[in-house]
């Protein structure tokens, strides 16, 4: 159970990191805020159920017909700002938060080991990356079940899949979004090694997420688009094709892996050489 090898890997520290993350009120406040998105969407549409505007792939128009689309629509709504905001808070806090609290020096003297602490911090934030879209999807599905009829899911092609497969695809979309946020997490981790002021690191991370999306809108930068952090964020709709376009999932994973490697290396370079003065 607790062999020295296992301990050297830092699993004990990782377990503690995840426990502490979910013992914080802030974490729950953010997850509840995210879960409130589908509830608001569902209630608003229920109250104002008029004729469909029928515009765009926002899926809002499909909700009245099938409650399972509450989760899909809410994910798409949360991706540009709400999700990056919460990811930015968690990732920006990783190192800078410990520094400002005064715990960084004690973790390092324990000794956590700088590379090990960095990996544990990344993994802890990554867990939140998956918890966040999952909160949206779960709350969305429950809202959908409560307020709307639920039935076979109509895909983008017009084909229908049964409710069970619809739910699985919803979970796959949550996983897709979790992966899509890993790059931003690595960026936040790096920014967090640059400062002892967590709020600064959080804000910088969120600003970078927004900037990436703005650049992604500029046609003049077309050539740059495939390499932008946020370029794959809205690709989750490809999971509603028939069959699901898994290659988009792969592109997403590859892009995010690239960001994790580059910003992970930058964070490593910075964190393993810096003086800990906080």
């Amino acid at each position: 159970m607790s062999s020295p090898d296992r301990r050297r890997l830092g699993l004990s520290l990782l377990a503690s990191e995840i426990t502490v993350l979910f013992r914080r009120k802030r974490t729950w406040a953010m997850l509840i805020a995210l879960a409130a998105v589908p509830v608001l969407v569902g209630v608003a549409i229920r109250i104002a159920s008029g004729p469909d505007s029928g515009r765009g792939p926002s899926f809002l128009s499909q909700i009245a017909g099938n409650g399972l689309f509450v989760g899909v629509a809410s994910l798409v709504l949360a991706i540009p700002l709400f999700l990056p905001l919460t990811i930015g808070v968690v990732a920006g806090d990783t190192i800078a938060g410990e520094a400002s609290q005064g715990t960084l020096r004690y973790l390092l003297v324990a000794p956590a080991g700088r590379p090990r602490l960095l990996v544990v911090k990344f993994l802890g934030a990554a867990v939140f990356c998956f918890a966040a879209p999952l909160a949206v999807v779960v709350a969305g599905t429950l809202t959908g079940l409560a307020l709307f009829p639920v039935g076979p899911v109509t895909l983008l092609s017009g084909d229908q899949v049964p409710v069970g497969e619809g739910l699985l695809r919803l979970l796959a979309m949550a996983a897709y979004v979790g992966v899509a946020m890993l790059g931003l997490t690595a960026v936040g981790l790096f920014v967090s090694t640059l400062t002892d002021v967590p709020v600064g690191a959080m804000a910088a991370t969120v600003v970078l997420a927004v900037t990436s999306q703005v650049l992604d809108q500029l046609p003049q930068l077309e050539a740059l688009h495939p390499f932008l952090l946020s370029d794959s964020w809205l690709g989750l709709v490809d999971l509603l094709r028939d069959p699901p376009l898994w290659s988009t999932f792969g592109t997403n994973a590859l892009l995010q892996l690239g960001y994790v490697v580059v910003f992970g290396a930058l964070a490593y370079g910075r964190f393993t050489t810096r003086d800990v003065l906080a």
Binding site: R7, R23, Q101, Y106, V109, A110, T273, V276
Partner: protein
Amino acid sequence: MSTGLAIETDGLSKRFRGHDAVADVALAVPDGSVFGFLGPNGSGKTTTIRMLLGLVSPTAGTAAVLGSPMPDGAAGVLPRVGALVEGPGFAGYLSGAANLARLDSADPLADPRTRRRRIGEALDRVGLGAAAGKRVKAYSLGMKQRLGIANALLRPRDLLVLDEPTNGLDPQGTREVRTLVRGLAEGGTTVFVSSHLLSEIEQMCTHAAVMRTGRLVAQGTLDELRGAAGDDRLHLRTPDAEQALAALTGAGLTPSLSGQEVVAPLQGRPVEDLVAALVAAGVRVRGVRLAEASLEDRFVALTGEGFDVES
């Protein structure tokens, strides 16, 4: 540890943006000693300690802790070192016990099966047993300080590095820390403790070093430091101060008038001879007192009288 030194530094220096926080420090902390690290505010104590613990890399020089070079040997050495650095640092939203569990889980050599028991014992040792489940946010300054000491005691250590451990403690807490340090030293732990309070160092240390504006200005056993403080002094009470000054000067001393008393460093001369000389010179001797050289004189001589922070 063939050198018999728990801490050894050579030319240890740290520059912050062109300002020498620590300059050319050569510390030698013997195994088993209780070593006081003295110096006024801003003299470089904490910066030195950060370098010893691998938190800060020296600009120049080397440091060895328990025989291993720092910061390269940190992973191997730090599990044997308990430390309190520049005050306690804890997550306010966690309880005292949960904070300790978190830090203990960061130590790759700490056994998770004994964690609960060790945490309980450490908390009891610093008198926090009753507050173990309380959030640290609700701790007083002294309670946090105690928790910081408990963290240093989570496992048996070969070396304790305590940066101003009695900061914020009440008189009982201060006394408990002294007792704790003595007990640990008797058990064979080397204790390196920084302070700007001389009396504290005098009461618990066997050795001491003194810092001033980043430089090490003295180190040795307390007796060596006292010895270097110069002579014991003669304090004479007399109505004939003028004659006394003349007589003592005639005897080869350098007396001075200090309030109602004539004071002169003894320079190794027997007191009885000097009294005889005074009486022979017609000085009416009302009282003679011998003042032994104090560490405080030495400390003030080394670090200056001024109140202003030097840098």
